[in-house]
């Protein structure tokens, strides 16, 4: 009986970790894409996550739509927003020093975060999914239907993302730009357009993550920074530019964090990841699956 409960709890924690992992994977993949193609470090990614969550919130609240439908709408809206931001802000700064890029994103953090706080107040918001109360029982397990859908949706999005990158001409152009920007230009690829699209897609993924976040828990305008920074740590751990690293890293991180909260308590939740990051970087400065830079 005890073993059963123990196992049941372990699996619950595991699944919760997987959900967190899904969020992190979406974030890490988006960041990886942006970094891979544009070589850009966007620290403001967290704010886009939360904004995506809020867009979904308002779509659900005002239009009464299914939250997962709202997610798709949010992804599209935020994708466009991302393209606009890239065109107006990042394009001017890309290629100048790394520090400028980082600072631009820090400035954006302040603008976005506080605009959201101004408009939406920092009262935590959550979306009540219609599937909230549905529980699926698998023997000793009781899993919320939402969790299953969340995982399913993430898998769907990731498959779509993978197909885009690997089976379409556009995806090929994006991969080419990330591997050799000069050669990509010589092949007739308009790399600036690719930059815009890449950023838009990365932000759309962030919006998906934000929507998941607001469904399974609640968000405030400030809730985005830490997940984004953790996602950065994840892609560094998994190796910059490695899509597999982003997925595996995200899942592992999610599970470790879930376990850490359960075992060690909330305060350490955020620190755990960075501790692991520092330890790994001491041993392998290019990350676990990292590409060796020439």
């Amino acid at each position: 009986m005890v073993l059963e409960t123990g196992l049941s709890i372990a699996i619950q924690v595991l699944v919760w970790g997987l959900i967190l992992g899904c969020i992190y994977v979406l974030l890490a993949s988006g960041l990886n894409l942006i970094f891979g193609v544009m070589k850009l470090v966007n620290f403001a990614h967290g704010e886009f996550i939360v904004l995506g969550g809020y867009v979904s919130y308002w779509v659900v609240t005002l239009l009464n739509l299914n939250p997962y439908v709202a997610m798709l709408i949010s992804m599209m809206v935020m994708g466009v927003f991302g393209v606009v931001i890239e065109r107006t802000c990042f394009r001017r700064v890309l290629g100048t020093s790394k520090l400028n890029e980082i600072l631009l994103s820090v400035g954006l953090i302040y603008i976005l975060q506080n605009s959201m706080a101004l408009l939406f107040t920092d009262y935590p918001r959550g979306i009540h999914s219609p599937y909230e109360k549905s529980i699926i029982s698998l023997g000793i397990l009781n899993l919320s239907l939402d969790w299953i859908i969340a995982i399913g949706v993430t898998v769907g999005i990731l498959i779509g993302f993978y197909l885009l990158l690997n089976k379409t001409a556009l995806g090929r152009a994006m991969r080419a730009t990330s591997q050799n920007r000069k050669a990509a230009m010589l092949m007739g690829i308009n790399v600036e357009n690719i930059d815009m699209l890449t950023f838009g897609i990365g932000i759309a993924l962030a919006a998906a993550a934000g929507t998941l976040l607001i469904i399974i828990t609640s968000i405030t305008p400030y809730a985005g920074s830490l997940p984004a920074l953790k996602a950065f740590a994840i892609i560094i751990l998994g190796g910059l530019g490695s899509p597999a690293g982003a997925v595996i890293g995200g899942l592992v991180y999610g599970i470790v964090e879930g376990a850490a909260v359960y075992l060690v308590g909330g305060t350490w939740r955020d620190a755990v990841g960075f501790i692991i990051l520092i330890l790994v970087l001491i041993v392998r400065p290019t990350g676990l699956f990292g590409e060796r830079e020439k």
Binding site: R175, Q179, K182, L186, M187, G188, V191
Partner: protein, 236 residues
């Protein structure tokens, strides 16, 4: 004969690393034109300015009647100039097939099947290794991939920057034979080469670039017989 590429009084400054002074030359349709000269003369700079990778400080470059100086590289590529760079610049973590397919980004109505077959005929190794990652290819194979990729875009002119660099003599022969074959099929080619012997053998016409200036011009055969060139470059 129709002039495809017309370069007039091209000047560049240190922004392009090497300095060019009033460089002028033409490439006619279906010709192989070679630019030869010592290291550091500015050959690569000529290529970079034509393909838009660095801005000239003066002069004009016209391609099929359109001014292309100062245009951005991707627009120049779309006009039909395809460069095979000195460093090959294949996409390392993509398959050979994907690399080739990228060539069609510019020119979407390339009939892959028939055209692809010709490229595989030219370079059979690309067919056998088509699913392998490009970075696993040898130097010569990467060169072939780079040429194949450029051909896939059905360019109006090919520019080859030091195609023989780093290759074994056999490979150099093969590549240059292939260049001749491509030219016989009607491709206009601008060849920049350090290997003077080989370049003059296949070129219809050639220009000598020394210290940023054109010092001599003539047909391939003429230049091969030229005393000074024989002495300085051919070691005779």
């Amino acid at each position: 004969m129709k002039i495809v590429l017309h370069v007039e009084k091209l000047t560049s400054n240190y922004e392009c690393v090497q300095v060019l002074w009033d460089v002028s030359f033409d490439v006619n349709e279906k010709e192989i034109v070679a630019i030869i000269g010592p290291n550091g003369a500015g050959k690569s700079t000529v290529v970079k300015t034509i393909t838009g990778l660095c801005p000239p400080s003066g002069g004009e470059i016209t391609f099929n009647g359109d001014r292309i100086d100062r245009m951005s590289p991707y627009k120049i590529a779309r006009k039909g100039i395809s460069l095979i760079p000195e460093t090959r610049d294949i996409f390392p973590r993509m398959t050979v097939m994907d690399n080739l397919l990228l060539g069609t980004y510019v020119n979407k109505d390339v009939d892959l099947n028939s055209f692809g077959e010709w490229i595989f005929q030219l370079f059979p190794v690309l067919k056998t290794k088509s699913k392998k990652m490009a970075r696993t290819l040898s130097g010569g194979e990467q060169q072939m991939l780079a040429i194949g990729r450029s051909l896939m875009s059905r360019p109006k002119m090919l520019i080859l920057d030091e195609p023989s660099l780093g290759l074994s003599p056999i490979m150099v022969e093969k590549i240059l034979d292939t260049i001749t074959e491509i030219n016989e099929k009607g491709m206009t080619i601008l060849l920049v080469e350090q290997n003077v012997q080989e370049a003059l053998e296949i070129a219809h016409r050639a220009y000598v670039l020394e210290e940023g200036r054109i010092t001599r011009a003539g047909s391939g055969k003429e230049l091969m017989k030229d005393e000074r060139i024989k002495e300085v470059y051919l070691g005779m």
